[in-house]
């Protein structure tokens, strides 16, 4: 057992056009892809959203990370597929459902590969989120890999004391997780207090208003991407309102 998959969502500092985009642009792109993804079951739209995100992953050199993150979600994908097949009995629709999940998961993953927690915090602050909430969010993001590592070291230490996780019935399995989760939570709470103290000791909150070290500015590339995003949403609305939904089963029957 490992939380190594969390590392698949870790920001990697690269110099690509996607990395250079303003984090607010990327946030809007990610939210748009997510909203378009969750509101459609049309295969053409799902495919289009997947292809666009595929292009983003290639241009941000994040394809390998994306594959790792999707691999970690394989179990969920299979679960969605099976549950849909049981409830609807429609194989095609179940596949669309699973692919829709990939669209949404991808929108989150490339965003985190290409946006540093600090940039995300700045973006949140500049769109009006309070500085405290933005900082909490940034710190949470920053500590995900640290907690994953802590989990691994506690897991190793307890296994070295003979703990066997994942054996027996559900109750036993859950009970066997306690020796890992209790010290993990204790550690996280302790670390939270330490960070809060360290921030205060370094003057956080001493002034009523904060100054900004780095102010985000939208550039030409952002304007182009935002324009493309508007076009994408417009095309999607037109397709949904004015064109008949695509039906693969009927198409196959006609052929």
């Amino acid at each position: 057992m490992s939380l190594a998959f969390l590392r698949a969502y870790r920001f990697s500092k690269l110099d690509t056009p996607i990395h250079r985009l303003d984090p607010r642009t990327k946030l809007l792109m990610s939210v748009t892809f997510t909203l378009l993804g969750v509101t459609t079951l049309d295969p053409i739209e799902i495919l289009a959203l997947l292809l666009i995100q595929f292009a983003i992953l290639i241009s941000s050199r994040s394809l390998a990370f994306w594959l790792r993150s999707i691999r970690a979600l394989t179990l969920f994908l299979v679960l969605i597929l099976v549950m849909q097949m049981i409830t609807t009995g429609n194989i095609l629709q179940s596949v669309y459902f699973a692919l829709r999940f990939v669209v949404v998961a991808s929108a989150t993953s490339w965003f985190f590969f290409t946006t540093s927690p600090e940039d995300l915090g700045r973006a949140l602050e500049q769109v009006g989120v309070s500085a405290d909430i933005a900082l909490s969010f940034t710190l949470s993001m920053r500590f995900i890999p640290v907690i994953a590592e802590e989990f691994q070291s506690i897991f190793d230490a307890q296994r070295a004391r003979g703990l066997e996780v994942g054996k027996g019935g559900l109750t036993e399995r859950m009970k066997s997780m306690l020796p890992i989760l209790v010290p993990l939570f204790v550690g996280v709470i302790r670390r939270t207090y330490e960070i809060a103290d360290a921030l205060e000791l370094r003057g956080y909150g001493a002034l009523p208003s904060k100054t900004r070290w780095k102010v985000l500015k939208l550039r030409r590339l952002d304007a182009i991407v935002l324009l493309m995003l508007v076009v994408l949403v417009a095309v999607s609305i037109y397709y949904r309102v004015f064109l008949p939904p695509f039906d693969l089963a009927t198409l196959i029957m006609h052929l």
Partner: protein
């Protein structure tokens, strides 16, 4: 008593980032060995393989002639007890008694047997009065003693300590030196992972130096003191005393070659 053999082991966490390269060494039964090297040299990774927490990507590790990949961690843990750095981070029980009993119960001890070992080790480690206390309420030194007691409780034949001296005071250091001697008297093997050469000299007879995942030197620790180049190859510094003796020799202030383990041995040699 258990013997550990490491045979031509390679390991990487991610392809292309080799952590161990062709490591071969032996921990004979009843021996005391220190594994030394700078940060990132692969020391902790290596000891995680001794009880099967990590598997080599090439080569093999044998514990009493049994390959670590042919058995389970919990079976290996019976023979090889590992005390990790900051072991108090894995405390989870409500009482010291339960914390010590956790390992023995996992190893198949009955409640009565676990009670016997809890009483035994808590007495040895000065924790008898705290058996009903919460482990998180203990002092730093008591927590460290508890973490060692909770591994020694089931009687492993090889005891591995990862950076046991980091962040602890002189009294605890003396306690560890004394403990190592007692464990050796009981016929157990002790492996210390450390970059504290002075501590290694006081607790171990043999040493393995690692640098960038490869063994750069191994042998008797006193011989190591005579070889300043071995420290250089491992990217480590010598003890103050041995570097002083080498400086005296190279400056012509002394004509004799010293390799003292401590001040009393220096006075003995001089």
């Amino acid at each position: 008593m258990a013997k550990i053999e490491v045979i031509d082991v390679d390991f990487h966490y991610e392809p292309g980032r080799q952590v161990l390269k062709g490591v071969s060494l032996e921990v004979p039964s009843g021996s005391s060995t220190s594994i030394m090297g700078p940060n990132g040299s692969g020391k902790t990774t290596l000891i995680k393989m001794f009880n099967g927490l990590l598997m080599p990507t090439r080569g093999k590790i044998l514990v009493d002639a049994l390959g670590t990949s042919d058995t389970t961690v919990s079976r290996l843990a019976k023979k090889v007890g590992v005390i990790f750095q900051n072991p108090e981070k894995s405390f989870f029980s409500e009482t010291v008694r339960e914390e010590i009993a956790f390992g023995p119960k996992n190893m198949g001890f009955t409640d009565a047997e676990a009670d016997v070992v809890v009483n035994d080790v808590s007495t040895k480690f000065g924790l008898k009065d705290y058996l009903s206390s919460n482990p998180f309420d203990l002092s730093g030194g008591e927590k460290r003693r508890l973490s060692i007691a909770s591994v020694l409780a089931w009687g492993p034949e090889v005891i591995i300590m990862d950076e046991p001296t980091v962040g602890l005071d002189y009294q605890y250091r003396l306690f560890l030196i004394d403990l190592t001697q007692k464990l050796r008297n009981e016929g157990k093997s002790v492996v210390m992972v450390t970059h504290d050469v002075d501590f290694a000299l006081q607790t171990s007879e043999r040493s393995v130096l690692l640098n960038e995942g490869s063994v750069t030197w191994h042998g008797n620790l006193v011989d190591l003191l005579k070889s300043p180049s071995a420290f250089e190859r491992a990217n480590m510094s010598q003890t103050f005393l041995s570097s002083l003796c080498h400086d005296l020799l190279s400056s012509g202030a002394s004509e004799r070659s010293f390799a003292p383990v401590d001040v009393s041995s220096l006075l003995g040699e001089a």
